[in-house]
């Protein structure tokens, strides 16, 4: 994908995004999305629900909305994005099953990060996670902080009027960082693997060292699938400060 550097409010960020699909999938079937607003220091990653309709479109709408400065959890914004999703995916000549599937809506996880000066704000729903790392030490993992907390079911932000989630499902956090800190936003397979490695070895799983280009990342993910990484779309946004 890309690596971009920027200077915002006195801090320098370098963001790298990478994504690769499931082992048995085609590239266009990857339902994860990632978006970066390098000028503002805003970053988002989303994982479209595999059983939901056109969830790659929905995850893209959510990440782009976040990095435009919008709040996808605001009910008015959610409803508008839901309308945009419908306009993007509906066509009158779709087969009956596609129409019925679309009527049921879409859903996705979301994790977003905004940096300003040496402060950060983050928000998330579901099992896409934010990690704050300093000199190899894990300072924060959220909204899930342990590998056992991952399951096949997770809260999601849906296309419905109310987003289909409870208020408690949305996590928010804020804090400070120092130059040299690293933030990682990642979808669930990568997040779970990183946490499990940390639990077992007390060290960081080296995913951030394998994002120099798409091929390096894809090869790393493929190797790790033989070592326990779940066969799932895998997406990261690495923000180096």
């Amino acid at each position: 994908m890309s690596t971009r550097s920027t200077r915002t409010n006195g801090a320098v960020f370098r963001a790298t995004t990478r994504t690769t699909g499931k082992r048995d999938g085609l590239p266009h079937e990857n339902e994860d999305s990632v978006s970066v607003n390098a000028e503002e220091g805003w970053f988002a990653v989303s994982d479209g629900a595999s059983t939901a309709a056109r969830s790659e479109v929905w995850s893209g709408l959510l990440t782009r909305a976040f990095t435009r400065g919008e709040d996808p959890f605001d009910p008015v914004t959610t409803a508008r994005l839901g309308s945009e999703w419908w306009e993007a995916v509906f066509a009158p000549d779709l087969p009956w099953f596609a129409h019925e599937k679309l009527v049921r809506g879409s859903a996705a996880t979301l994790v977003g990060l905004r940096l300003s000066g040496h402060s950060y704000e983050a928000t998330a729903i579901g099992d896409s996670c934010l990690f704050h790392i300093r000199e190899g030490a894990l300072l924060l993992a959220a909204p899930l902080d342990g590998s056992a907390r991952f399951s096949r079911f997770t809260p999601l932000l849906g296309t419905g009027v109310d987003g289909g989630h409870a208020p408690d499902d949305v996590w928010s956090g804020r804090g400070e960082f120092v130059d040299g800190d690293l933030f990682l936003l990642a979808t669930d397979a990568v997040s779970k693997r990183l946490l499990r490695h940390h639990e077992e070895h007390g060290t960081l799983w080296p995913v951030c060292d394998h994002v120099s280009d798409d091929e390096v990342f894809a090869e790393f993910v493929e190797r790790e699938r033989d070592r326990g990484l779940d066969n799932d779309d895998s997406t990261v946004c690495v923000v180096r400060t």
Binding site: D24, D47, G48, A49, S50, T51, A52, A53, R54, V89, L94, P95, W96, F97, A98, H99, E100, K101, L102, V103, R104, S106, A107, A108, T109, G126, D127, S151, R152, F153, T154, P155, L156, V161, G164, T187, D188, A189, D230, N231, D232
Partner: protein
């Protein structure tokens, strides 16, 4: 065992056997509908849900599993449009694109403001009710065994086939035990084929669901069907338990004097067992993996 990953390269198989004997024209429970009518609705609903599980919301339907429907009554028929003896089971994508017709029905839904509204929906129809002739269960099982054996040969690493027999009566062409055993003796590297028997009753009482022994069964026919039914694999037992059924160790995929809701629940469990997102979905929201 019973843990193989299900994906398009390694699909699963769901084979439905539908009793189409004359007695299926009798009413089922208190619904006022015949057993054949209600069962056709249930099987169409199963197939429709299966298609939607594999639909991505556009022209794509991921072929996570293959499905076949065998009707048995006056004849043994392959009921899905496009199926024939050379291709008795079809990928779910082909099933999606070839219903016999798509009916427009009204669905009652919440209007989001505390009220109920009716909205039109598409209901695909693959199976129409048929009631004619005797109950040749032996021949139906033998047909199923051939299908299952050939399929396992082609898919040695797949999740084992699931065969669901829906009947209201007693076999009229002999004892089906050996034919049932033949189905359950074939399998894949991941386990033996699963045979589940769902017996429908015109009575509104005496339902037995997922028994773990024949001790509670009242007649020889029920015991016979019980003995022919596979033990539920752990994840299916868990899913049944999640739907509120009392499941004990060794519970079998067997319903006797079953009511409509139990049959629909069981068909849901059977269908979702053969999709990648699996059975836990019965208890929660959308998985993201």
């Amino acid at each position: 065992m019973y843990s193989a990953e299900i994906n398009r390269k390694q699909p699963a198989l769901l084979l439905i056997l539908v009793d189409q004997s004359y007695s299926m024209s009798e009413p089922w429970g208190t619904s006022g509908q015949s057993k054949a009518n209600t069962l056709a609705l249930a099987v169409n609903r199963l197939l429709g849900n299966a298609v939607l599980q594999c639909s991505k919301g556009d022209n794509r339907v991921h072929d996570y599993f293959e499905v076949g429907v065998v009707g048995y009554g006056a004849d043994i028929t392959l009921a899905l449009h496009g199926a024939d003896p050379a291709r008795p089971v079809l990928p779910i994508g082909e099933v999606a694109r070839n219903p016999r017709r798509v009916d427009q029905v009204m669905r009652r839904m919440s209007d989001g403001a505390g009220g109920i509204m009716e909205v039109p929906m598409n209901a695909a129809v693959w199976i129409d009710p048929v009631t004619n002739g005797p109950t040749p269960m032996v021949e139906a099982f033998q047909t199923a065994e051939k299908v299952v054996s050939a399929w396992c040969h082609l898919h040695p690493t797949s999740f084992p086939p699931i065969v669901i027999n829906l009947t209201d009566g007693v076999s009229t062409d002999g004892d089906p035990s050996a034919a049932a055993e033949a189905i359950r003796s074939v399998g894949t590297d991941d386990g033996q084929a699963l045979l589940f028997n769902l017996h429908l009753s015109a009575l509104a009482a005496g339902e037995v669901v997922f028994p773990s022994s024949a001790a509670t069964l009242v007649d020889r026919h029920a015991s016979h069907l019980f003995e022919m039914s596979s033990v539920l694999p752990a994840q299916m037992a868990e899913a049944a338990s999640g739907l509120g059924y009392g499941i004990t160790e060794g519970a079998r995929g067997f319903l006797y004097n079953a009511q409509v809701t139990s049959v629909i629940d069981f068909l849901d469990i059977g269908t979702r067992a053969v999709t990648p997102t699996g059975l836990k979905e019965l208890g929660g929201g959308d998985p993201t993996s």
